[in-house]
């Protein structure tokens, strides 16, 4: 009984830990200037107002940064699925020499600190002419999202019995037809979850985006560079717009991740 109470307490602390900043940011993003600076702050937003938000969107460069962020995230999503899913499929379906070390190697790319890579990468990008472009940032974000994409899709494809594909082959499909007609429909929920996760990784990534862009900033990079010399309400509104997409996506993913587990456990 005591243990149960302890768990409950721990859960409450954890929930508060996560929710308090989100709550503060959200309420203050929708309050007027005065309440942003007010102390002590009330529990509920006192003065509902779009003043802060309007001000945020009024700042020069915000819209461009949002557009850049969307473009980069969409490219990251597409690259991660197009490169990650085939690799995951190969890992799931074929036994080849070095398959296991390949798995570890994929994870190692995640362990490699981006800070060491950043300067040579910037130099190389300048030489290639993709410095300060959404495409260049998307390439780095893809590298970050890819390990996740490969490992998740591989477990996803492992969860789809090989016999289903073989049955399709015996019924007149070639390999590609069998994949499109049988494997893909069953993999869609998991692939969607993978895609959304890649999107969120890109949307929230700030380090590479800051180093590899100058004028074509993504939203996090833009906010980071302008944070120190901007007023407090601007920071709250900016924080709000960084959190929201991630939150929405995690809610969507949640359902898909359960579906993914359902497939894996069948």
């Amino acid at each position: 009984m005591n243990l149960r109470l302890l768990y409950l307490l721990l859960a409450v602390v954890l929930v508060l830990w996560v929710l308090t900043p989100i709550f503060l940011i959200t309420t203050l993003a929708f309050s007027d200037r005065a309440s942003v600076f007010a102390w002590p702050k009330g529990f509920l937003p006192q003065q509902f107002s779009l003043e802060t938000i309007t001000f945020f969107f009024g700042v020069e460069g915000v819209w461009k940064a949002i557009r850049n962020s969307l473009v980069v995230a969409a490219m990251t999503l597409a690259f991660s699925i197009l490169l990650g899913a085939p690799a995951g499929y190969a890992l799931a379906r074929y036994r080849f020499a070095g398959a296991d070390s390949y798995r570890v190697l994929i994870l190692l790319t995640r362990a490699f600190p981006l800070a060491i890579l950043a300067i040579p990468l910037a130099v190389q990008f300048i030489n290639l002419g993709i410095y300060d472009t959404p495409f260049g940032v998307a390439l780095v974000h893809t590298a970050l999202a890819l390990p996740f994409a490969v490992l998740v899709t591989s477990s996803l494809f492992l969860g789809i019995p090989k016999e289903l594909e073989e049955a399709a082959w015996t019924l007149g499909c070639n390999r590609i037809q069998a994949f499109l007609r049988v494997v893909l429909p069953l993999a869609i929920p998991g692939l969607a979850a993978t895609a959304i996760f890649a999107f969120v990784i890109s949307w929230n990534e700030v380090f590479a985006a800051t180093l590899l862009t100058l004028r074509e900033r993504t939203l996090p990079a833009f906010l980071l560079t302008s944070l120190n010399d901007s007023p407090l309400p601007f920071r709250f509104a900016g924080g709000f717009f960084l959190i929201v997409p991630a939150l929405i996506f995690i809610f969507i993913i949640r359902r898909y991740l359960f579906t993914l587990w359902g497939i894996a456990n069948r």
């Binding site: 019995p161 016999e163 289903l164 073989e166 049955a167 399709a168 082959w169 015996t170 019924l171 007149g172 499909c173 070639n174 037809q177 007609r181 049988v182 429909p185 069953l186």
Partner: protein, 353 residues
């Protein structure tokens, strides 16, 4: 319709030799069962015929086409998998129609084909359902209907009944037999269940450790096993093998002397005799030998006795009303026309006459 012919198929997985030169011929419209313990290579052979695995050596013929190099889709086969492999995202109708859609048949032919296959398997009222809404037995029916719908030249089945519970398996076994007699499709059927093999097959191909051991009609395989493996694997309880001394042209069991086929020159010989071919008597009989009862197991239709004869154990079945207790001595009279002689050095049967 077509027959199947495989010639000296060899297949290794890493260091494990799965098939060591297997040759087999299935006649047109014949039902052949591949029977053997797990790991004997029977499923591998089936998958090689389906084109899902490729053999290192040997050829596969379906009808008069050499299909050794062809992918599964070009072999005009259909396969039923052990775990059914019914597509979970498609309705029963679409599952059965899958093969026909790949052949791009006309809409009315498609409807008629699905209708026919569904009616054969008695699942015409389930066509709108998804596999998740079906029981194991119903999924099994969908899998068979899907295979039959494409009217394959050859039907391959990989332990299709092994995932069903005992009662359902019995029911499906009888139904499969009816179905395949009706459709007269050449069928190759893999199982490790000897009762299933006996009940379904026109001929049984017994496999062990990558070799084809015996290929014959069920009753022949049962009564005249090619070696001790077949005699021991088929039949429950298995065949008895008694090691007996040879005296001239006869083998001796105490006072009982049995004539041997010609050409036996060894000191000893193995007598293979089925438990039901030993007639038990409480009194001494001519043409019999004594053995002491160790265990009596009442099994319903008969009693299963374990007896000791010297240091060797013998299984015998007697009628359920036979009055016998452990420790009693019985006289066993082997049926003279049901005896099988084997060479104790290699376990191979010695040909009669």
């Amino acid at each position: 319709m077509a027959g199947i012919r495989v010639e000296s198929i060899e297949k290794t997985f890493g260091k494990f030799k799965a098939l060591s030169g297997v040759s087999l011929e299935v006649r047109d419209q014949e039902f052949v069962v591949l029977l053997g313990p797990s790991g004997c290579g029977k499923t591998t052979l089936l998958r090689i015929i389906a084109g899902l695995e490729y053999a290192e050596r040997g050829r596969v013929w379906i009808g008069d086409r050499d299909v050794t190099q062809l992918p599964p889709r070009a072999r005009k086969i259909a396969m039923v998998f052990q775990n059914y492999a019914v597509f979970p995202h498609l309705t029963v109708f679409e599952n059965i129609a899958f093969g026909l859609r790949m052949q791009k048949v006309s809409a009315e032919k498609l409807g008629a084909g699905v209708e026919r296959a569904a009616t054969l398997m008695h699942i015409e009222n389930l066509l709108e359902r998804y596999p998740a809404q079906l029981s194991g037995g119903q999924r099994q029916r969908v899998a068979v209907a899907r295979a039959l719908a494409v009217e394959p030249e050859v039907l391959l089945m990989d332990e299709p009944l092994s995932n069903l519970d005992a009662l359902l398996r019995l029911e499906m076994r009888a139904e499969l037999k009816r179905l395949l007699i009706e459709s007269r499709t050449t069928t190759l059927y893999v199982t490790h269940d000897q009762v299933e093999a006996m009940s379904l097959a026109d001929r049984i191909a017994v496999m062990n450790t990558g070799y084809l051991v015996q290929f014959d009609e069920p009753m022949k395989v049962y009564q005249e096993p090619a070696n001790t493996f077949v005699g021991g694997f088929i039949g429950s309880p298995p065949m008895n093998f008694l090691r007996l001394p040879v005296e001239g042209r006869q083998a001796r069991i105490q006072s009982l002397a049995l004539d041997l086929p010609t050409g036996v020159s060894s000191q000893e010989v193995l007598l293979g005799v089925r438990p039901e071919d030993l007639e038990a008597h409480t009194q001494q009989q001519p043409q019999s030998f004594p053995a002491e009862v160790l265990v009596v197991e009442p099994l319903g239709p008969h009693l299963l006795l374990t007896l000791s004869f010297g240091k060797q154990h013998i299984k015998a079945t007697v009628p359920p009303d036979f009055d016998v207790r452990a420790g009693q001595t019985l006289w066993l009279r082997p049926q003279p026309d049901r005896l099988r002689w084997l060479d104790p050095s290699n376990g191979q049967a010695i040909p009669m006459r």
